[in-house]
Symmetry: C2
Subunit: 233 residues, 2 copies
DNA sequence: AAGTGGTCTAGACCACTAT
DNA sequence: TAGTGGTCTAGACCACTTT
């Protein structure tokens, strides 16, 4: 939206500085010869970008860049294996086991109940870059297991297949060091810094049906975020 | 917005399933007796939440939950010291030094040029939880240094003071292990998993004026994200 | 050609804030 | 009480996709 970009540039240039107030919506209407709705949507764009914040009855204010407003995404992580030409997934193991305490808690089942464990490894250009371990609820009436075993590119977990009926999920980034098992798989040394990316998926009954984690060497992954207008002056 | 929530609940219940198409905007107008603009804004809300995606000329489609769409924020990190009653910042050191190679690169200055180093420690309930190291461009004409030294609550870095005129910033989450120096400060053992949160701030001339990093024990910090509607069925 | 989402107009009324 | 942002109406025209 042109007006939003215009205002963002002005903020970036320092015309409106952090803490300062923007012209009121009705003023902007007159200044730029647009309707109130257009002004409102422009401002909404800036609010979404956390560049300004609005206070009803008071005004629209320019935010100072602040760490708290930064958001990280999975782009960096995803980019590691979105190229289907050079990456492939190898299933190291897929077997039925009894749930240990952690798995039982995560999947909301009883300890010792049967679950499916899948261990995968993601290879790019012959290099093992991600180790994935996933525990699935054992439920013959659901096709989730077949779905999961068909995920041969891990990219499926990222784009969504359109077939799975999973409702919600949660993700957690944890700091870790490589265990000796992981280090061997990832061609690294034990105790090296690493990211552990845990995930839980829920179905439409809000039951957890899958949990697991990715392990990636810390020297191969960074999560990035930006603050501020992101506009060149 | 009521209509947005209504649609989100229907999606969560499985009325519209991933990959499926929502009723067209004009149909929703008639169904719920609202104006086109209202429908559009409702759908915009769902688009922003990554629950649906729109394709011009084709329709509005329900997204499958996917890892790639997840976003992390700093809430978890910020919550560690937003309580001003129990947390305080101690400046361990503040001195002028010559820039090493890394610092020179980060601040876009010459190696050996003078920079200000500030080492801080964040204490909550007598517990050292975050170690902060920051390098500032030495520029007597700018008040940034005084500003920074006045940051006695680190929260200032998060909410923005309204005084600083910093324009943009970047953040990076890296996996690390505690050095022996850090371990001593944070009452932990060396080689323990940790997060290193690097930041760079730029002023209105797009010059980097500050860079540094936070170190936090991995067992005290997790970054969380959610996928899907986040709605109870 | 018909239907879809994308953008916009020119207002209206309301809730809230400032003075 | 005047001014602010928050929400909404009832259309309009356009770009794009589908058939």
């Amino acid at each position: 939206m042109q007006l939003a970009n215009l205002l963002a540039r002005q903020i970036a240039k320092g015309v409106f500085f952090p803490g300062g107030r923007l012209p009121s919506e009705s003023e902007l209407c007159i200044l730029y010869h647009v309707s109130p709705m257009t002004v409102r949507r422009s401002i909404k764009i800036l609010v979404d970008k956390r560049i300004v914040s609005t206070i009803q009855g008071s005004g629209t204010y320019v935010r100072a860049p602040n760490l708290g407003g930064a958001t990280f995404n999975m782009e960096e992580f995803h980019s590691m294996f979105k190229d289907k030409e050079t990456t492939k997934v190898k299933i190291l193991e897929a077997l039925i086991i009894g749930a240990d305490e952690t798995t039982a808690n995560k999947l909301a089942i009883g300890q010792g109940e049967r679950v499916i464990l899948i261990r995968r490894i993601l290879i790019r250009n012959g290099d093992s870059i991600i180790y994935h371990r996933e525990y699935l609820r054992y439920d013959p009436t659901r096709p989730i297991v077949e779905d999961e075993l068909e995920v041969t590119s891990l990219d499926g977990l990222f784009v969504g297949t359109g077939e799975t009926r999973l409702k919600n999920g949660s993700l957690a980034i944890k700091a870790a060091v490589l265990t000796s098992e992981e280090a061997e798989i990832l061609n690294a040394v034990p105790n090296q810094p690493a990211f552990r990316l845990e995930h839980v998926f829920f179905d439409f009954g809000n039951k957890p049906v899958s949990w697991g984690w990715f392990v990636c060497r810390g020297d191969r992954l960074v999560f990035n975020a930006t603050m501020g207008t992101g506009v060149e002056t």
